[in-house]
Subunit: 186 residues, 2 copies
């Protein structure tokens, strides 16, 4: 039931925006009466938190798995992008909410999410730095290059249609081609 509620909240937040969405709409979306919803969820913010936490945990786990292989920086970057685009493909509405509402909430437990976001960025930055140190990649500021590449992937949540003609796999390949061609020293 909790899973269904989080899924329904994700769709409603994506469609309406977090602030505009009401618990009544979420109850409607899940096919439940409002009092029953409150039986499972104390407040709207808890749902936003659950959406964020799941996504960032999944992203970190999969990216960590890529980093711990013995591949070279190019191959790691290709896989890192595949993971990021895969997340958009599997959880498009969730990623939209995640990215759009990153400043909608504050308070102690959100600090934990900020730590995780920073950790993810650091992991990707590490791949870029390794490539620069190896002289495989061009000499650009690693943090800026990392954000440029992640921006490309993040932004895809705004236009990529998981059910459309372009497969997530192909999108990841094109991103990897552009990002790697962009990074690799000639």
């Amino acid at each position: 039931v909790r899973e269904d509620i989080v899924q329904a909240a994700t769709r409603v937040f994506s469609r309406r925006g977090y602030h505009a969405a009401s618990m009544a709409e979420i109850a409607d979306e899940v096919g439940m009466r409002k009092p029953s919803l409150y039986h499972h969820v104390r407040k709207k913010e808890d749902l936003l938190f659950a959406i964020h936490e799941r996504l960032i945990d999944e992203l970190i786990d999969e990216t960590m798995a890529v980093l711990s292989t013995s591949r070279n920086p190019e191959e790691k970057m290709r896989e890192v992008l595949r993971v990021a685009v895969g997340l958009v493909a599997r959880h498009r509405d969730g990623v939209t909410v995640f990215l759009r509402e990153r400043r909608s909430v504050s308070g102690e437990r959100w600090a934990e999410l900020t730590v995780k976001r920073d950790l993810y960025e650091k992991m990707v930055g590490r791949v870029v730095s390794e490539g620069i140190a190896d002289e495989r990649f061009i000499d650009v500021p690693a943090a800026v290059a990392t954000r440029a590449i992640l921006g490309m992937a993040n932004w895809s949540s705004m236009w990529f249609e998981p059910e459309g003609e372009l497969a997530a796999e192909s999108l990841a390949d094109i991103f990897a081609q552009l990002a790697l061609n962009g990074l690799i020293r000639r």
Copy 2:
């Protein structure tokens, strides 16, 4: 006065989100009483529309100027990115609102903005297609490459600090370096 109101609304929408923001907060921000604000602005949506319209018009004008030069696709792309990053640097809060709230509103006059957004994307796509046709750029789907590159620039509104250490000019150069290195055929 109208200019001050639009500026104040931009800051409030950026900070609070469009839906969460109230006309009272905007009146506060501009240092005006609410009835006086309503004297100048009929409703909150008009302010969101004004923010969107100014930005897209400025972006299109400047990008059009780049396109109408006789530069080659590489040089045009460098300038296109400079224009996009320049917009973020000059109007960071506005761009944040523009990108985050693109689906917050609907109705007839918003259709006009969608037409303009598509036009902008088409202009940038044209530079990419020219480069591919010339065999200067690698053979990637032009529309996807365009969105990848614009994503990089758009996303910078989420983290770039116009008052920070990294100058907008340097950011544009790094983006151009990555995007062009990424696009150019070896």
